[in-house]
Symmetry: C2
Subunit: 424 residues, 2 copies
């Protein structure tokens, strides 16, 4: 249809067969555990992409709980609205998650909501559940009607294909939900002392051309977790992971993270909630970092840590200002120890900082101290750190005890290539 879309499709397909993969990608897809009470299936519904699976169904055993966190965008996509309504109606009980790639069902008005509702109804019918027990997520082009009949048509083979998630099934599920992702994303962690696991998949690599794209993550556990605890643990975990990464400061209309707890391990979070949190936090942080590692055009994985701020919220705002600064990001792309740009970003964050107490580190090398260049600063040592692909920047703003870390990537020609390709 358009050169761009053709490119996009081709790329997404290429991705799924393994090339061109981000230079920051993990060496291999991780070995993923079985999670009792969960069955996965994927299918090729041909919604937009050809020659690849584009629908993923996760079935949860009866009695499972679900929790969700969603984009803060005020222009939410229809599936986000559906999930919020469904969670309210079910009180946090769920039986399935259905996800399609290729079409985001966003900016589709009231008709878009009916499509999400219809999809939930079809899945519920096939699995003997209630529509409001089905979470729906969509990612891909916007402002085009989602051809819901193609999901309906794929549903019988999806249901027939449901199986306990072996490593291959996890990878197929992670691949099916991807758009221009260059590698499928998954992570897991055991919940200490319970024999249960937390395991999840995610997609996202910035807001992806030619359309709005999206960060989606689906995290599962075979622990029993009551709905309130699940929602609280998820919200807290997302705050420390997905909400602390930024590729290009742009927010999707469709961002969705769903936690599903099947309880099939026979163990309940209860007394183990602290261990559950630990495992959940490890999984969400790992997935969030993988999204940054697949950032459009990224060649550096960057941690920006701010200490000494008025409070943690101030530290967060300053770290974000540094992480989102195009000037900082282009300097990182060039391995340029241009820490003056960090000073500027701190200054524009609008948070209390004392210019004359400001200290800055690139890796372990201190560039500035007390508002002037550090006397022992070696630009060579700083550049040596910047030539690697795992970068640490630290700023102490000298006014309090607030701390925060934001993860981001550099800004390169690759980002422009991906996002400014000519469609016509």
């Amino acid at each position: 249809m358009h050169g761009w879309r053709a490119f996009c499709c081709q790329f997404a397909v290429a991705v799924m067969v393994g090339t061109p993969v981000s230079p920051l990608a993990p060496a291999a897809f991780p070995v993923m555990p079985a999670v009792g009470g969960l069955r996965l299936a994927t299918a090729a519904a041909g919604i937009r992409y050809q020659g690849r699976d584009d629908v993923m169904l996760a079935e949860l055993s009866p009695g499972s709980t679900v929790a969700g966190t969603f984009t803060r965008s005020l222009c939410t996509a229809a599936p986000v609205d559906w999930c919020k309504d469904a969670l309210a109606a079910s009180g946090g009980r769920g039986r399935a998650i259905i996800v399609n790639s290729g079409n985001a069902n966003a900016f589709t008005g009231a008709a878009g909501y009916r499509v999400a509702e219809h999809t939930a109804g079809s899945v519920a019918g096939a699995l003997g559940a209630q529509p409001y027990e089905v979470m729906v997520a969509s990612t891909g082009v916007i402002a085009e009607d989602l051809p819901v009949e193609r999901i309906d048509a794929a549903l019988p083979s999806l249901v027939a294909g449901l199986s306990a998630p072996d490593p291959q099934a996890w990878e197929a599920a992670a691949a099916a939900i991807g758009t221009t992702d260059t590698f499928p994303k998954a992570a897991s962690a055991p919940v200490d002392g319970t024999g249960a696991h937390v395991a999840g998949i995610a997609k996202g690599s910035g807001m992806i051309a030619p359309d709005m794209a999206t960060m989606l993550a689906f995290v599962f556990t075979d622990l029993a977790v009551d709905p309130l605890t699940a929602q609280e643990c998820l919200a807290s975990s997302v705050e420390k992971s997905f909400n602390r990464v930024t590729v290009d400061s742009d927010t999707s209309t469709s961002d969705t993270v769903i936690l599903a707890a099947t309880g099939s391990s026979g163990r309940s979070a209860g007394l183990h909630t602290a261990y559950f949190r630990e495992a959940l936090d490890a999984v969400t942080l790992d997935l969030a970092h993988q999204i940054v590692r697949d950032g459009e055009g990224a060649t550096k994985f960057v941690a920006v840590t701010v200490t000494g701020a008025a409070d943690d919220a101030a530290a967060d705002a300053i770290a974000r200002a540094v992480a989102d600064s195009p000037l900082v990001k282009t300097a990182l792309a060039a391995s340029d120890a241009n820490w003056g740009r960090i000073v500027a970003a701190v200054g524009k964050a609008g948070q209390r900082a004392d210019r004359d107490r400001l200290s800055i580190w690139i890796g372990d090398e201190q560039c500035a101290e007390g508002g002037i260049p550090h006397p022992g600063y070696s630009e060579e040592t700083a550049i040596e750190h910047l030539l690697g692909d795992e970068i640490e920047l630290r700023v102490d703003v000298g006014v309090g005890d607030g701390e925060a870390t934001i993860w981001t990537c550099d800004l390169t020609h690759g980002y422009i290539d991906i996002n400014a390709g000519y469609r016509t």
Copy 2:
């Protein structure tokens, strides 16, 4: 010293002889009026650049008033601190403005302030004024000591060269304060019914590599304007001009706008204040637009207008979110009518908007209406508009009467080239 700096110097010099000039630059330097009571001079002090003037002195006749607005950065450069102190001490009276390019005197601690103070003292001594009657501005590399002795050495020839500003003197002054600007910037307007003029020069093209750069503007009038009126008119004018443009969302530590009123026309603002405001607003807006037209890598001049917001501040925030979105800016670079990215930017602005009342125009072509694609939308017509180099985007968010326009440019490979060149 570094490849980057060598490049930067070469570029800056090349700029001043006219190449490579931004494709959005005006056809020629404007014809500028004489402004009574003002004398200008430039000199080559060799602060960093070689083979070009890098110091500009503006002398104001006795009794002149000055007003200033400065960066909101919390990490201000020393000259900004000096100007604020001097304005407070003088009550808004001034006799001179001294500006150097090549070194920003920023992140230089207490020593940096003493340098700014010393510079003001030297100029004051040469002109028979008080130090606090001298405004100082610096732009260029940061975190390096400004070699103030070079300004001192250039001062006698500066003072000897002071002359009423003919067109050549205006252009020389605009060029001397530039760094990586690709063309010198000036604008003027008559004050209706007075015979007086407002005339100004500016520099800036984003925060310029390899250092923090800066937006500086110096605006003069031969009307008499009392200090309070001058400050109030300037603040209001800056709010509608320089504070409504964005190249890359980055804020300099040194941004400075000075208004100087000599009164030598024998006419006072007084009853003519409305006309004075009109002329001042025209000059600041023209200069602000010229800065966007010299945006790093810019190939499109873009006006983003938001209507129907809860109030003007909300409209401003939404327009900024669109104008600063890397995804919108890269789409514009590609003449890609990807208005889904505008929806996403509106959604992330955090201001009240009704997704189901959202309407979007590219030029005169309506893309979306009431939260869904407009039935008569022609992508071809939208692209035709985007292929030009003057772009208008409009969003109506459907909740109130708030309006705002923000001016910006596109995000291209040129921006990455300029900001991510390897220094080593």
